[in-house]
Symmetry: C2
Subunit: 148 residues, 2 copies
DNA sequence: GGTCTTAAGTTGACTGTGTCAACTAAGGTT
DNA sequence: AACCTTAGTTGACACAGTCAACTTAAGACC
């Protein structure tokens, strides 16, 4: 039975992505999921840099660069060079970006409620908790050597 | 808190995929995950057709066509026209395919054990169970209208 | 028998995601 | 100065997922 956990994950992820995209599309939001996730990071992390996003989302730097390029050119994000460290850059949401994120947050709430509608709060917490344990297992395993 | 379930999923999926690919690569298995998943379907479903795989994995028919083309050309899978229904086709593993799947199954077991190492059997069952409930929620939601 | 519809599979084109390697530029070290 | 590290950029590529148009085969119906 244990071995099927992978298929469960694939399936769940598939349907989850589907719903996120569909929900967003129905509200006229047509940007990809990775962009949405990046917006959330920028909002949450103070003085957010590209690296911060990459670390938090476990994504490649290059991917972030490309996402940011589009977010900036769409007017959702502003990029200014950090005054104290010219290697780094400070990311912040524009007014437009903030408004977009507000709408996304509302959609997220609805989507999460829909996805968890037959579950108790305890079950949801358990699920997230178990997920975290598994992520830890995977990170510390010999298979995945994160030098950090 | 509920809204973060999405990020948990993304993260878990990311690390899970990473491990699957890495584990396979270390054993010299260099085919993509979708191919592996398809092989498992063919093995599990008697008289498996392309559509069966697409349904079971919630993937597009076209994707399956392409996966099968490679699996056939690599000699892992055989494709014969169904005698009673010429629209359909019967898929079966070749000897090579069977051997490959055996190796994959062993790797899967190790990977699953690694991923679940600090979890009780009950927690694993709960996790799978909750996943299924969420998949059902997503399928039956107004967002995702599966006409089938 | 001849249309009409549906189902299975194929193909092409395209978007999004993830990864790798080579590179620039800035900062720190000695 | 020469050297190393870090943040970010760019190019190239593989994989994953989606959509629409198409072929071929079966079944339904007059």
């Amino acid at each position: 039975m244990k071995e099927n956990i992978g298929e469960s994950l694939h399936k769940l992820m598939h349907h989850y992505r589907h719903q996120v995209r569909e929900t967003a599309a129905k509200s006229g939001i047509l940007i990809p999921v990775s962009h949405i996730r990046s917006l959330k990071c920028i909002n949450k992390i103070t003085n957010c840099s590209a690296k911060d996003i990459a670390d938090r989302l476990s994504l490649d730097k290059s991917q972030i660069t490309r996402v940011l390029k589009e977010l900036v050119s769409s007017g959702y994000v502003e990029k200014i060079r950090s005054p104290d460290n010219h290697r780094s850059q400070l990311l912040s949401l524009t007014k437009r970006g903030s408004e977009l994120l507000t709408r996304i947050t509302m959609l997220d709430r609805v989507a999460a409620q829909n996805m968890t509608q037959n579950l108790t709060d305890q079950q949801i917490e358990d699920f997230i908790h178990i997920s975290e344990i598994m992520v830890n297992n995977l990170n510390q395993s010999p298979f995945c050597d994160n030098h950090g």
